[in-house]
Amino acid sequence: MRSGLGRPNGSPIEMTKQRGKESKSDVLKGGDLLIENTASGTGTLDHDRFFSLSLDMLCIADVRGYFKDLNPAWERVLGWTHEELLASPFIEFVHPEDRPATLAETAKLATGADTVWFENRYRCKDDSYRWFAWRATASVEDQLIYAIAIDVTDQKDSEARLVNLLDRERRLSSDLRLLLESTGEGIYGVDIDGRCTFVNRAAAEMLGYSESQVVGSNFHLLAHHSRPDGSVYLIEDCPILRAIRTGEPCRVDDEVLWRSDRSSFFVEYASFPFSEVGIIRGAVVTFRDITERKVAEGAILAERNRLAATLASMAEGAVITDLEGQIVSVNPAMERLGGWLVDEVQGRPFADVYPAFDEKGQLIPADRRLLSKAIQSRQAVTSRGYSIAFLTRDGSRFPVSVSAAPILDADGEVVGAVSVIRDVSFEKEVDQLKSALISTVSHELRTPLTMIQGFSELLLTRDLREQKSREALEQIKVSAERLSRLIENLLSVSRIESDRLAMRLVPVDLPGLVEEVVAAFRQEQDLDLQLSFDQMPLVLADRDMLVQILTNLLSNAIKYSPKGGLVVISGKRQGPSAEISVQDQGIGMSESEAAQLFEKFYRVDHPEVHKVGGTGLGLYITKNLVELQGGQIWVNSEPGRGTTFVFSLPLAIDGEVKP
């Protein structure tokens, strides 16, 4: 009480002010008069002392409702001065809610009844209230009430607190009960021996037991006795019980609980040990059925494995980046292609690790890479042709085809991109070969066509003499034959490629066949051909193929020979084979050119070769035909010094010499 410690008038005498019946009439006059009266009559002095000393509040009031006299305890408790308390009817100090009861009690007193216990609240000077408990009696004849009040505020407060506490605890325990019963999580308690002390409804339901079946039983033996694979789960190994032993909470999400019907379900559980006064008493365990999550996780894992297998099996390089183009991952093919291991490139900018160049050899800036375009446009994009060149770790460049697509998250937001990169060196080469073939074939077609068209027009428009008509017709025939040879060559290639070349091996008299082929050439043009054959057994060969081989090699030798150049065809026995060589004195070729000679569409880069024409198919076909019959073909050549083609064929019967 802030003001309760103050004194009404600051006088020390006040502490010993005395009361007496004689001064009753003076009371109305106030405290000053009381002091004047202190000297009178020593008989009331003891009473006055008690009056002043009492910690309880003593007062005398009249039936009109005014205090007549008050002991100092009032000032101490309420903070009002003595004068202030006397100046207003006491009811005005009473809490408005308590006024009716107070007035009723006062009225009751006036009839002569005593008040044994009555409580009301008095207002302090600081506007707070104190609880007073009253005992009072009234003197009917002098119309005065004598009353003692004790301050029971503190008592009231602790009483209220206790009620509150009990109420809260009651509410809390019912909330807790509600929580336990309403949650979908299984919750149970175990003591230090693993015996179940309580279990909520969800737990019991999940396990297929009643609560009473679970409580009191050893939980591990009841529902945690086996591992997911059905093997025994020793109680010593149980993490829930270990948590009780160690005092450390645990969380597990790869175990199962077993139902009463012996079926099991995957759970995630947590065990929280609890202690009382420092001693662990047991643990509270919460668990959840995560079967659905396990199924979903399994599906995600399977999907991830599928994706990983797809990426690993791809022949194309794949790079996955984030939104900023930083590499997240690359597949094994990309490691091979670029020369960088996945660990070396993770987190680095895609465009830095894998520089690319446009057809002019200019570095393609990061924002113009297809990957960036895919991110910007949110669409899959693909490169065309062979315009993009790729730079590898070791500095080599090769043409690539690139495609890129944005990667979206669940909300459809772009979070990165994947780029698939394929080495198209081979395709580019094939494409160039194809263009070369079209070019050479059309050139090869044009000459015979020009002749057929020209001579037939002459035959039709001019009145040619017999000799000239005949010449024109012969030219047409030769051209037609040339065209058919070209077609035959193209078909041979097609058959070789698709393994559909039919072959019939028979013993063949090689020198005799060479004579026949050479005779056919001689018939068409004047040649300096020389034949030189050792005696040898028959060779095992397909006659038609052998004719084709010889024709190709001979026509090449003649085509590239200067006018009057000598062509020598010779044959000898070499172990179990016959070796036939065709030698010319033509332009020859370098070693590297010779190495590529038998490749499809390959043509020596020499002006003469270009001028002479040809499809670049002859030697490719020849080589395949030789090898098909079990032989080999090779070439010895030197630029400017002529060329010698040599091929071998197996002998028909080992050791048998032609008679």
Partner: protein
């Protein structure tokens, strides 16, 4: 009598040109290589050379340039015979100084007309 040189490595083409222009009152010379064409042109000074672009040893373009660069043969009219009417070929021929070109396959009638045209133009000039 006007002299005409046909240079083509294909004997069939040469004989076609010869038969086409046989009755036109020309003396016809034949060359099967570029080098041969140069030799014959320098020796005989033909009025017209029909020059195949693709020939062994020396290409038709080189022959053309050789003839046009030499004051002795620069007045000879040259018609290039090209297998393909590709821009690059035509440009090359033009750069080498060819007077005209003619693409294969060709019609003899058209060849006669072309040759007549060339000579008519030449006489006017």
């Amino acid at each position: 009598m006007k002299k005409l040189l046909i240079a083509d490595d294909e004997a069939g083409i040469r004989s076609l040109v010869r038969m086409t222009l046989d009755d036109g009152g020309f003396e016809i010379l034949e060359a099967s290589t570029g080098r041969e064409a140069l030799e014959l042109a320098r020796k005989h000074h033909p009025d017209l050379v029909l020059l195949d672009v693709m020939m062994p040893d020396t290409s038709g373009i080189e022959v053309c340039r050789g003839l046009k660069d030499d004051p002795d043969t620069s007045t000879i009219t040259i018609i290039m015979l090209t297998a393909k009417a590709q821009e690059s070929d035509l440009e090359e021929g033009e750069a080498a100084g060819a007077d005209d070109y003619f693409t294969k396959p060709f019609s003899p009638v058209a060849l006669v007309r072309k040759v007549d045209e060339v000579f008519a133009g030449k006489e006017l000039a």
